[in-house]
Subunit: 110 residues, 2 copies
């Protein structure tokens, strides 16, 4: 597992099973069993996916009797979106400058 938070977040999102779990949890908290039921794998496998999500800060887990309540946590997603949008903006800005440059050259060539 990577050390920096952003890598952890993206790595967590890189697995389809984990994204499915997050989709489910965005609709409301759930126990491990509830999450595992529709998934085509064993309970221990799901248990470890949840650990990865917890490590990325994307869920928070709390004990309730013999159940574990898993709750969605959106903060790391914000940083991921920020990173992406920053690159997008840098790229768009470059395209805009290029566009302006081409326009100005065209204007000076009648």
């Amino acid at each position: 597992m990577p050390v920096d938070p952003l890598s952890r977040t993206f790595a967590a999102l890189a697995d389809p099973t984990r994204r499915e779990i997050l989709t489910r949890l965005a609709a409301g908290a759930a126990t491990v069993g509830e999450l595992a039921h529709p998934l085509p794998m064993s309970l221990p496998a799901v248990s470890r996916h949840l650990k990865v999500l917890e490590g990325a800060g994307l869920i928070v887990r709390t004990r309730e009797a013999q159940w574990r309540r898993n709750e969605f946590h959106a903060e790391p997603l914000d940083e991921a979106v920020d990173w992406i949008l920053t690159r997008r903006r840098t790229w768009e800005a470059r395209l805009d400058r290029l566009d302006a440059h081409l326009r100005s050259r065209k204007g000076t060539q009648p």
Copy 2:
């Protein structure tokens, strides 16, 4: 390597070196050598990171004589952001409903 596009995108972004490369390329296209120079690893290593980025559709590579021009491509990032924001919205909506519910209960208990 994962098969679905979203997993490829997130997996590509999960590596700090690849994010650094993308940051550099968002400012403008570059050759493999230019990208490799500041990085603490061999050229073949960088070459393969670029292959991963290409596989995710995040860059497009073209030959120019003996150089390879690597150009940023933002489209896959849009889908990644969409996925994230959809979950965010689902979660926010849930919190809003919960909030409304609590308010209404408070209103009926004078």
